[in-house]
């Protein structure tokens, strides 16, 4: 996170991590499609000819406080990044992960990918540690993507897994745009809860703490209620502390 008082801006960095071909870029593309033109900048992607992310993708989102004192509040810039999943881009992954405020781990639901998911998670944990970040304290959500495919882990299995884990879990089919906003809002929720608690960001933005997510939903041009989005979460710590103003 960076707070720029001169520029009246708060910048958050959210990172979509996960194994190769798990759909991180697809999540970002869907997020781009599903949010309003006014709220996001251009989606910057850098792909190789076989559609694999070479360095990273970046989607900037801009939220402004809708307060009574228009010049008083600051702007919240959220930059959403993806890392390259392929093993060989290890150093780029670490660079992108550096300074992350929250991480959405995009896992592949296919049973055959179980080990890749785990390996990528361990890779992330190691990278975080090397960056001096404590993986336990970093806001994180897990998405089981590719629910539309065959031979995937069943909903029941994911439910069981999610109830055992600490991180909020979301199910998604990013190519169909399903579960993408839910995951994003889950991530925004846990990230905001931690950062606002530590830095009083709401006050800087001139809003109430629990007004950010509804504000984000409005400015991103979403029709869905925040509580509906968040209720898609299975397991993890999200639902236990859920407190969102309607």
């Amino acid at each position: 996170m960076q707070i720029n008082f001169g520029g009246r801006e708060i910048a958050l960095k959210l990172v979509y991590y996960g194994p190769a071909l798990s759909g991180k870029t697809t999540n970002l593309k869907s997020l781009y499609e599903l949010t309003s033109e006014a709220s996001h900048g251009r989606l910057m992607t850098l792909e190789t000819k076989d559609d694999r992310t070479l360095f990273f993708d970046m989607l900037p989102l801009v939220l402004r406080a809708e307060s009574a004192r228009p010049s008083g509040g600051m702007t919240l810039r959220i930059k959403v990044f993806t890392v390259p999943g392929q093993v060989l881009h290890s150093s780029t992954r670490r660079l992108v992960l550096q300074g992350a405020d929250g991480v959405a781990f995009i896992a592949d639901s296919q049973k055959s990918e179980t080990e890749h998911n785990a390996a990528s998670f361990l890779d992330m944990r190691q990278n975080l540690q090397e960056l001096g970040l404590n993986p336990k304290q970093l806001p994180m959500v897990i998405q089981f993507n590719k629910r539309d495919m065959d031979r995937v882990r069943s909903d029941e299995e994911i439910g069981v897994l999610a109830s055992r884990g600490r991180e909020p879990v979301f199910k998604a089919s990013a190519v169909q745009g399903k579960g993408v906003l839910e995951t994003f809002f889950g991530l925004l929720y846990v990230t905001w809860a931690k950062l606002d608690g530590e830095h009083n960001l709401a006050q800087m933005l001139g809003i109430e703490s629990d007004a950010l997510l509804p504000l984000a939903a409005r400015q991103l041009g979403l029709e869905a209620e925040v509580s509906t989005l968040l209720s898609a979460c299975v397991g993890g710590a999200l639902d236990r502390s859920l407190k969102v103003r309607a």
Partner: protein, 477 residues
């Protein structure tokens, strides 16, 4: 930040990264873009950076402006208008109109990227379609203004409806936005690329440092081991010499006559003592060879007598075992440079080995020949036709009809303490030091040693030694 963290701060790059128009856009390219707009619409276009620097200016002065600039008050008024336009903020809406006393107007628009203002676009002057006659503000600006001339020049100025200018400006802004995005993307990409490479390099360096550290430690350990070996061997030899010496004296009866049984025991002590001594000498040699402290007395010598001596020394052993020992040395064997004592040790060891592993009725042959230059070496070296004859090698083969050495063992037998048959019940004794010492001795003479098959049965040890070079060219390596 931990020591393993990248030293590249990409946060600035990826998170905040203020975009500056002047950093991303090629000036000449921007000029060309603006010129193409002027060519299309005929209206002057200027682009300023966020801190007011002029980045592009296309279209040039209007004739009316040039005319007014030729008049004293006109020039003052012009300068003040231009200054005001240049300083004008496009406001929150990002689009303002600034009038000129000539009746023309300027449009000042905000250039934004990533929802931040990165510069300003100034379009104009142009005459709004509604203005037809030269206004009083133009005619009265300077006493010298001629009405007819002013009207004529005003008519020559580009005319446009505000909506048209809006469309032109939007178009230019869109083109600029694309350029900015492309530039930004390339900029970020190259930065991340460089950072990634640096990060990979840093990781490699760390790994290399760790390996180097481990390597240095191992080398030091190895050195310690060699020293230890040398010291221990030396210390062991001193008391052993006494043991052998005194048992010899006992056996010779210097301390009085001994019974046959006592004599047998003393002889056993003597034998085993001698065996131990040779083992310790071997260890000491190996230690010295490894630490490079083996003293060599090198001189030019003929190999023939060395081999003769080896054969005559071992002839009794061969006879006792019923093995035929032959020497076949060519007449043309060149001289070589080396330590005769050490070379004798090499061949003594090899022949002794051959005899040990050859059963009775077998044959061990010691054969020396001249061999050509190594074919692999110096193939494209210049002057080889002249140099090659001086680089001939002497090959000595120790051929036996013994049990042979399996191909996969052939490099390992030269390792210290290695035994092909390492079981405790092995048939043949030995310390496993002999061949490792032989190899190091041969190498210290600039030679090589290898093993070949002896069809149908047995082993051939091939020792290849360089002949002594009469003289090498001055300065040659």
């Amino acid at each position: 930040m931990t020591s393993g963290a990248p030293d590249v701060a990409t946060d600035d790059l990826l998170l905040d990264g203020r975009i500056r128009l002047e950093d991303l856009v090629d000036r000449e390219g921007l000029d060309e873009l603006c010129n193409s707009f002027v060519a299309l619409f005929g209206i002057r276009v200027r682009i300023y950076s966020s801190d007011g620097g002029l980045l592009a200016d296309a279209g040039g002065e209007q004739e009316l402006c040039l005319y007014l600039n030729g008049l004293t008050d006109g020039r003052k008024a012009c300068a003040s208008t231009v200054g005001a336009v240049r300083a004008r903020d496009p406001g929150d809406a990002g689009d303002v109109v600034h009038p000129c006393f000539t009746g023309a107007t300027y449009r000042i628009l905000s250039l934004e990227y990533d929802r931040r203002r990165v510069g300003r676009l100034i379009v104009g002057p142009f005459v709004p379609a509604s203005v037809t006659d030269a206004p009083t503000s133009l005619l009265k600006i300077d006493a010298a203004v001629e009405k007819g001339r002013a009207q004529e020049l005003l008519d020559k100025m580009p005319r446009a409806k505000p909506q048209t200018v809006t469309r032109i400006a939007e178009h230019l802004k869109a083109a600029l936005d694309l350029i900015l995005f492309s530039g930004h993307k390339a900029f970020v990409t190259s930065k991340v690329h460089v950072a990634s490479v640096r990060e990979s390099y840093r990781q490699l360096e760390e790994k290399t440092a760790r390996l180097q550290e481990a390597f240095d430690r191992l080398k030091e350990l190895d050195h310690l081991k060699s020293n230890f070996l040398a010291t221990v061997s030396h210390e062991l030899r001193t008391p052993l010499t006494s043991i052998i010496g005194y048992s010899e004296m006992l056996a010779e009866g210097l301390a009085g006559e001994m019974k046959p049984e006592q004599l047998e025991f003393v002889k056993t002590i003597q034998d085993k003592g001698a065996q131990l001594l040779s083992l310790i000498t071997g260890l000491l040699d190996l230690g010295k060879l490894e630490s490079g402290t083996m003293r060599m007395v090198r001189r030019t010598l003929a190999l023939g007598p060395v081999l003769d001596e080896v054969v005559s020394t071992l002839a009794p052993t061969a006879r006792k075992k019923g093995v035929k020992l032959d020497l076949d040395a060519g007449v043309d064997i060149a001289n070589l440079r080396g330590d005769p004592e050490r070379l004798r040790q090499v061949f003594l060891n090899l022949v002794e080995n051959a005899l040990k592993f050859t059963p009775g009725g077998g044959v061990v042959t010691l054969c020396a020949r001249m061999a050509g230059v190594d074919e692999g070496a110096g193939g494209d070296e210049d002057g080889l036709a002249l140099l090659a004859p001086t680089r001939a090698r002497i090959e000595v083969r120790v051929i036996d009809t013994g049990i042979g050495i399996p191909a996969r063992e052939r490099t390992k037998v030269f390792d210290a303490f290695y035994q092909v048959d390492s079981t405790s019940t092995r048939q043949y004794g030995g310390t496993g030091l002999g061949l490792s010492i032989v190899k190091r001795l041969v190498e210290s003479h600039g030679g090589t040693i290898g093993i070949e098959d002896n069809e149908p049965k047995g082993t051939v040890f091939v020792v290849s030694l360089p002949q002594s070079t009469p003289s090498s060219a001055p300065g040659a390596a």
